[in-house]
């Protein structure tokens, strides 16, 4: 099918370019590993009940770091499309019969692959530090971050293509992402916080996803938290993918 052919073509091109300059993939991974090494040990000092992770602080912390990796990694991909737009590559592609949706989806696919590789490295380092979690949970966690990456990368590319300026893009993304990270309880449980913080954190979709991931890491697969997390993750991916594709399918972008 033409769309699949086109998507794979774009995917291979982007993958090839990424492998040529692996610095960004490595830089993206350094941050969560630093948190794991330098922040993780602090959590061991907290009363185990507050983390709700049955005595293993890393079952609490690693899912958080995975989400953080997904959030930062996927929202900043739009940077690259601004460079591509400026190089005239986007315009050159848009004058060929290639599916305009594939121009986005091929890139998103590359980002998903990158993120899964980064996530696998992060989990392995986590295991070295003392993470013990069911294998099924690790894969469920990957499923969640794949959904996050699909949605956020799509929106990021669309935003990049609309904003067309790195100077405007970086602060915009930071303004959105940092509060989301803080409100998701990535580093510390939100239950430690006051009521008002717990209240506003309810609006962060990532909060539901991270709670579901932590359930899985603790071996609980069937409960409302899990259902909520899956619904939010799918909903987010579908809505953002739709919004992103609208920008790419517009007659003039």
């Amino acid at each position: 099918m033409s769309f699949i052919h086109d998507t794979l073509l774009i995917f291979r091109r982007q993958e090839r370019l990424a492998l040529r300059q692996p610095a960004w993939v490595i830089i993206g991974l350094t941050q969560p590993i630093l948190y794991l090494v330098l922040f993780g040990p602090l959590l061991k000092g907290l009363p185990t009940t507050s983390l709700g992770s049955g005595g293993n602080a890393y079952r609490f912390f690693v899912p958080g770091l995975l989400i953080q990796l997904g959030l930062f990694g996927s929202t900043f991909v739009g940077f690259a499309i601004i460079a591509d737009w400026r190089a005239g590559v986007i315009e050159r592609f848009r004058v060929t019969p290639v599916s305009r949706l594939a121009i986005m989806v091929g890139r998103v696919l590359r980002d998903v692959v990158t993120l899964v590789v980064q996530a696998a490295v992060l989990v392995l380092v986590g295991v070295a530090f003392g993470l013990r979690a069911p294998v099924a949970a690790v894969f469920i966690g990957f499923g969640f971050i794949v959904l996050i990456a699909v949605g956020l990368a799509s929106v990021s590319y669309a935003t990049g293509l609309l904003v067309k300026s790195e100077d405007a893009f970086a602060p915009l993304i930071n303004t959105v992402v940092v509060p989301l990270v803080l409100m998701s309880g990535i580093f510390l449980p939100l239950t430690l916080g006051p009521g008002w913080l717990q209240g506003i954190a309810r609006v962060s979709p990532f909060r539901y996803i991270i709670d579901a991931m932590r359930q899985a890491y603790n071996g609980h697969y069937f409960n409302t938290i899990m259902v909520e997390g899956i619904a939010v993750a799918f909903g987010l991916a579908v809505i953002f993918l739709f919004l992103g594709s609208r920008v790419f399918l517009r007659e003039n972008a």
Partner: protein, 322 residues
């Protein structure tokens, strides 16, 4: 046969409360195998028209058939048949990724047109040879010279052997040598392959050397069209510069102004500047008139107008300004 046929093509942009009519109804017909130039100052609607014809921008009014496909009904059909080389300076560049290898760009481009891998490899080889890029296959695009990179960008627009190619400012930013070299390649596209070329340019010399026909666009409409020679003759006329003795200046001026072939005349310190319809035919009769009146001619010079003169006459602006 017409390969581009546009009628009333228009585009309005809305920003805030203002409405800007960038293109206000362009009619143009381009025949199969022609090389046509599209000239206009910045903001005249040149790029907007080009973007409409290449399906990058939807017209707000008008119709067009490009390479046999209807622009509005079948934009993908148009894309299959045309090649497009974006302009390489300004807000966006010419369409190559600095980190890609030359051969990768060509093969990816072939992939976008669904050429099978073996055909793509053969086509890439042909284009590399045709555009003097052989041996540069494994070089990253960023290490190419300006001329090489531009030739690669033109080659990318031709991967699928389109019958019609759009070149947006093909030689802007190139040194004179690379420019001449690219002109040769563009000329060969038509002479050897029969490709129709539609190019926009800032360089009048380029339009003069390359183009069979020129469209001049100003304020969103076509202000004039024709061969470069026709336009020069029709719009500006030729310029004859005569020198007579300083004291005969006024007499000569009066006499020549009466001649029907003289359109305009001005004089200063014995130098007379005349605008005439066809210079080479006008010279003998001008000489005879002066001779009969006993006026002594010191020198005579016939100057052809440039396309810039045409441009100035039509738009009140010089192309070089924009």
């Amino acid at each position: 046969m017409a390969i581009i046929e546009a009628r009333g093509l228009a585009r309005t942009f809305r920003s805030r409360k203002r409405t800007v009519e960038a293109v206000r109804g362009v009619d143009l017909t381009v025949g199969d195998g022609e090389i046509v130039g599209f000239l206009g100052p910045n903001g005249a609607g040149k790029t907007t028209t080009l973007r409409m014809l290449t399906t990058l921008l939807e017209p707000t009014a008008g119709t067009a058939t490009v390479a046999g496909a209807d622009l509005l009904q079948d934009p993908v059909g148009v894309r299959r048949k045309i090649g497009y080389v974006p302009q390489a300076i300004g807000q966006t560049m010419g369409g190559t990724d600095p980190n890609c290898l030359v051969i990768e760009e060509l093969l990816d481009q072939a992939g976008l047109y669904h050429l099978p891998p073996d055909a793509a490899a053969r086509r890439a080889g042909t284009l590399m040879a045709q555009f003097e890029l052989s041996g540069l296959e494994r070089r990253p695009v960023k290490t190419l010279s300006g001329g090489q990179r531009r030739r690669l960008e033109v080659a990318l627009g031709l991967v699928h052997t389109p019958p019609l190619v759009f070149l947006d400012e093909p030689t802007t930013g190139l040194d004179p040598q690379s420019r001449n070299n690219l002109w040769e390649h563009i000329g060969k596209l038509r002479s050897e392959l029969g490709t129709t070329v539609f190019l926009t340019t800032h360089y009048l010399e380029e339009a003069d050397v390359l183009c069979d026909r020129v469209f001049i666009i100003d304020q969103g409409v076509i202000a004039a069209e024709g061969t470069p020679d026709e336009l020069k003759r029709r719009i500006s006329g030729d310029v004859v510069i005569l020198r007579v003795a300083a004291d005969q200046d006024d007499a000569a001026r009066k006499l020549l102004a009466e001649q029907p072939i003289v359109r305009e005349i001005s004089s200063a310190d014995g130098t007379l500047r005349l605008t005439v319809e066809r210079g080479e035919a006008a010279l003998p009769s001008l000489l005879r008139v002066l001779d009969a009146a006993g006026l002594t001619l010191e020198s005579i010079n016939l100057a052809r107008p440039t396309l810039d003169d045409v441009f100035l006459t039509l738009t009140g602006r010089s192309l070089r300004e924009g």
